[in-house]
Amino acid sequence: MVNAIGVLGLGGVIGTVMLGLGTTPPDRVQGDLVRLIYVHPPLAWTTYLAFGVTALYGALFLWKRRPRFDQISAASAEVGVVLCALTLATGSIWGRPTWGVWWTWDARLTSTALLLALFAGYLALRKGIVDPEARARRSAILALIAVADIPLVHFSVKLWRTLHQQPTLLRPDPQISGVQAWTLLLGFVSMTLVYVWLTARRARLEAAEQHAESRYLETALAAR
């Protein structure tokens, strides 16, 4: 099942790249730079999804105390950090020719950078605690606090006057149609599948690492 999701995700990404770079037309205002829209918003959406799943499974861990929930939470956070960094990087690559700068302290950009810092902190916290129970509990609490930044990121373009453009798709009159809309949709679906595959594999690795860690501790204690 997981491998089938991976294959579908890979196929979707290849399709998105072919349509995004080849079939779709350039924009009247943005020219070829519009092609980055098939990559950047899907990365941003999967970042929200990844950190939302981190918080959800963190809450489930606090409730049920099952290690499996902590493993999924940790896996999703790590994948989310990669996706969030790529969201910022692709946005910066689009911003340089459009705004004339690689970075500006715009509300959307700043709140996204804060989101990256918060979840990088989550990963650092996990590295710093040896006891698995305390590590899972404290990181779950941090995830529940950090996830509050997501609505701030999403609504920042409405709450403040920003350089970042308004939503293209999530509005009563979507500003995209035809092959461009279908390519963007394919980008969203395939990036979601890639996220699910990466998180499932990373959670399996996390479980194996935690198992190896506990066996090593048992062996070390028995040898004393």
Binding site: L21, A85, L198, R201, L205, A208
Partner: protein
């Protein structure tokens, strides 16, 4: 188009490297003797 290619190459490259890291770490863990300390 250079900015567009850079954006696509960075995204695909980073995701491919990250996926490879997960798969290789899993393989390494499977092949390691159980008493060895986790890295």
């Amino acid at each position: 188009m250079n900015y567009v290619f850079a954006g696509y190459a960075l995204t695909l490259g980073a995701l491919a490297l990250y996926a490879a890291r997960i798969v290789l770490a899993e393989r390494r863990l499977r092949e390691r003797p159980s008493e060895e300390a986790p890295s």
